[in-house]
């Protein structure tokens, strides 16, 4: 029986929730790391790659080594985008049936990822002033309420803020670019989701 990353894993038994036990270095909500976790082995690597490429949210992953086996279970992406699809316009009084069922952008989002979308039409500014460092770049950790950028409209600067704690996974707009209502600006990977 392969020993995966030091977790106790006796033959024939799974962890209590069916998930492959992992050490703290690995988080299923993240995309598959480029460097395999130590001790995973070939089957484990393949299982991780599979989990990362799922067209939905992982709900069960079983890996055996003896006689090889991988079982994967996932739930389809619910209508409206990823289950944690996030709108910068958070006011529930504004949403009506006609606005639900928004088709997400064509980029496939990693499971659990959160999109930050433009609440108004204007021009995107990534930094506080020309020449300065951007508010948020790929890999940056951000906290709720932190400014991610500015949309200028009618000579007014409107801040776009993060509504969750997390890390910037992708930046989808460039400085000076015109943006429309609901346009995707960032993909964030939220920090550990509380159970």
């Amino acid at each position: 029986m392969g020993d995966l990353n030091g977790a106790a894993y006796s033959s024939g038994s799974l962890s209590s929730n069916g998930f492959l036990e992992r050490g703290p270095a690995f988080d299923l909500a993240r995309p598959a790391p480029e460097v395999p976790a130590p001790g995973v082995g070939a089957l484990g690597e393949q299982a991780l790659e599979l989990a990362a490429r799922l067209p939905g949210t992982l709900s069960r992953l079983v890996v055996r080594d003896g006689d090889l086996s991988v079982e994967v279970e996932w739930s389809p992406v619910p209508a409206g985008g990823t289950w944690m699809a996030h709108r910068a316009v958070a006011d529930p009084s504004q949403s009506t049936p006609g606005d639900a069922g928004e088709v997400p952008d064509t980029v496939a989002l990693p499971p659990g990822a959160v999109e930050v979308r433009a609440p108004l039409v204007g021009v995107w500014y990534a930094a506080p002033a020309p020449g300065e460092a951007p508010f948020a770049a790929v890999g940056d950790a951000v906290v709720t309420g932190q400014t991610l950028g500015i949309i200028e409209a009618m000579k007014l600067m409107n801040r776009v803020v993060a509504e969750v704690d997390g890390t910037v996974d992708r930046v989808l707009v460039v400085n000076g670019e015109p943006v429309e209502y609901d346009q995707a600006l960032f993909v964030l990977s939220p920090s550990e989701v509380e159970s």
Binding site: V89, Q94, S95, T96, G98, D99, E102, L120, V121, G122, V123, A153, M154, L156, P178, E180, Y181, D182, Q183
Partner: protein, 578 residues
């Protein structure tokens, strides 16, 4: 010349504007709310910008989003369509400041014209006739009641900042005035944010006739004839047509000239409409000015061959008017029906259903303006207009037959759908409408009868005749298409008396009891009634007793009328007994 236009609207009018731009080689940018993202104007535009969620205040009324969308896409002009921001002076001003040409009049002109009380004063100064009334807003019920007593009942109380037929109340007697006044003020405050109201004489039996004008920015203006929009339900237009029987050629020219005069006097530019109420004698009174392209503009286009939206674009680009007054010819007859997704049998409740079947009419001189396609769902977020069907024909009779045919071809069905098509067809078959005898109160008054007729719809074309009947007919020989209203008809074998006539004249023509006379040789004008009151009486007598009075009150005494009605009643009684 304008290069690229942002169409700040949706639905059929957005498509209309986009088409005119295409024909002029002007670039088109569409803006859309979330539920409109698959609309035809978005598909046909060069570029499209998502400007907000469904709620109009966050999308089609969202000035910053719209202006930014125009700037981001390099537009040099904005067309506001009708409704939404089309008569918002702030929007026009903001566009100007942002360097965008607003396709419409200058903001200050729009502001002046948009306030009903101000517009009345300006037009009065420009020489247009007004209904007797008070131009200044009326502050208290006591003040209003004194004015009303002076003008003579019936009167109408109107919100100065109102429009679209809302914020109005008709008062027939002094006792009702105070309550109507207070209610109208409250409505005005709630809906328009301004409680100011004014009081006018209310014309019974009048027609709503509006004149289309075009003014360029070089001081030239033309009129393109009138549209008769008297078929209204609670001041909402349902059917429009042109030309109007109430105006002869000379009256048309005079009214048109007045309309242009009024528009130029306030510095108007672009396409606009002057609304009048016209009595049976052809006397016109200015009501309000609409500083935008209107829903029913295709009626004028069919009659004159002038593309009004194209003219708007050219004028906004600084061009001189492309037509002179003498070049404008009004030919034939045109009718427009507004097909709304409403159920007339359930109080016109909106019916935003799924259009599983949606096949629009076609054929000779049949024009359809719609932004819906089969498979679409009627939008529940915006107005209920689904399509406009417009026809043209050499005369009114043929136009009615053509529209009746066209609406018969219009197939709309699906879960939750209902339209006003059935009601329109019943209207087109109605004898009063066909004989062109209706007035602005007609639809409100006879809606129940029309709905009954719509329920058993005739398949063949209505009997259309252009000549109104002039000889009185006995009720026995007449086949009315409409049942006489039960509550007014009392089949009594007693003669119809002069006192009965006086009562009738009070109901229909606002005759004050102080003017009553028992003298059978008295005439209409000797008791102070005008041709308008006569028309109302004529209509009412036709409806109640099936008796057709002569067209003109001249040479007729009150005694003659009493005798005729009495004779008709007797004949009916005899027929019953026999």
């Amino acid at each position: 010349m304008i290069r690229k236009v942002l169409v700040a609207n949706r639905g059929e009018i957005a498509l209309r504007v986009a088409r005119a731009c295409r024909e002029l080689g002007i670039g088109v940018v569409a803006v859309y709310s979330t539920p409109d993202r698959k609309s035809p104007v978005v598909a046909m535009a060069d570029e499209a910008v998502h400007i907000g969620p469904s709620a109009p205040r966050h999308s089609y009324l969202n000035i910053p989003n719209i202006v930014e969308a125009a700037r981001n896409t390099g537009c040099d002009a904005v067309h506001p369509g009708y409704g939404f921001l089309s008569e918002d002076p702030d929007f026009a001003d903001i566009c100007a400041v942002a360097g965008l040409t607003f396709i419409g009049p200058p903001p200050q002109v729009m502001q002046r014209v948009g306030n009903k009380a101000t517009a009345r004063r300006l037009m009065s100064e420009a020489g247009l006739p007004l209904l007797p009334g008070v131009v200044e807003p009326v502050r208290t019920p006591a003040e209003g009641r004194a004015i009303a007593a002076d003008l003579g009942y019936p009167v109408i109380i109107k919100a100065a900042a109102g429009g679209g037929g809302r914020g109005m109340a008709v008062v027939t007697r002094g006792a009702d005035f105070e309550e109507a006044f207070t209610t109208t003020r409250n409505t005005a405050r709630a809906v328009f944010g301004d409680p100011a109201v004014y009081v006018e004489r209310f014309l019974v039996g009048a027609r709503h006739i509006e004149v289309q004008i075009l003014c360029d920015s070089h001081g030239a203006g033309v009129h393109l004839g009138e549209r008769d929009c008297s078929i209204q339900r609670r001041h909402q237009k349902l059917l429009e047509e042109g030309p109007s029987r109430y105006l002869d050629a000379e009256q048309r020219e005079r009214l048109g000239a007045l309309a242009v005069q009024g528009a130029l006097a306030v510095g108007y530019t672009g396409a606009g409409t002057m609304e009048f109420l016209v009595d049976a004698g052809g006397s016109a009174y200015f009501m309000e000015m609409n500083a935008r392209i209107q829903v029913e503009h295709p009626v004028t286009e069919m009659l004159t061959g002038v593309d009004l939206v194209r003219e708007q674009l050219l004028i906004a680009g600084g061009a001189h008017l492309s037509v002179r007054q003498r070049d404008i010819r009004i030919s034939g007859a045109a009718i427009e029906c507004r097909v709304n997704a409403e159920d007339p049998t359930r109080g016109f409740a909106p019916a935003p259903g799924l259009l599983t079947e949606y096949v629009v009419p076609d054929g000779p001189w049949t024009r359809v303006e719609t932004a819906y396609r089969q498979g679409d769902r009627v939008s529940p977020f915006y107005d209920s207009l689904v399509a406009k069907v417009i026809v043209w024909a050499p005369d009114r009779g043929q136009a009615i037959a053509r529209m009746h045919r066209a609406l018969g071809e219009f197939r709309v069905s699906g879960p939750g759908t209902a339209t006003t098509i059935g009601l329109h067809r019943a209207l087109l078959a109605d004898e009063t409408f066909v004989r062109d005898r209706h007035d602005v109160q007609f639809l409100d008054r006879y809606l129940p009868d029309l709905l009954r007729a719509a329920a058993d719809e005739p398949v063949t074309a209505p009997r259309t005749t252009s000549e109104p009947a002039t000889a009185p007919e006995s009720p026995a020989g007449r086949r009315p298409t409409r049942r006489v209203p039960k509550e007014t008809f009392h089949m009594s074998s007693a003669n119809f008396t002069q006192q009965d006539l006086m009562d009738l004249l009070t109901t229909t023509g606002g005759l004050s009891p102080a003017a009553y006379t028992a003298d059978p040789s008295a005439t209409f004008d000797s008791i102070g009634l005008d041709s308008l009151a006569y028309l109302s009486l004529q209509t009412e007598i036709a409806n109640r007793y099936g008796l057709e009075l002569p067209d003109s009150p001249y040479g007729i005494t009150l005694g003659t009328i009493v005798d005729h009605v009495g004779a008709a009643l007797e004949a009916a009684d005899t027929a019953k007994v026999a």
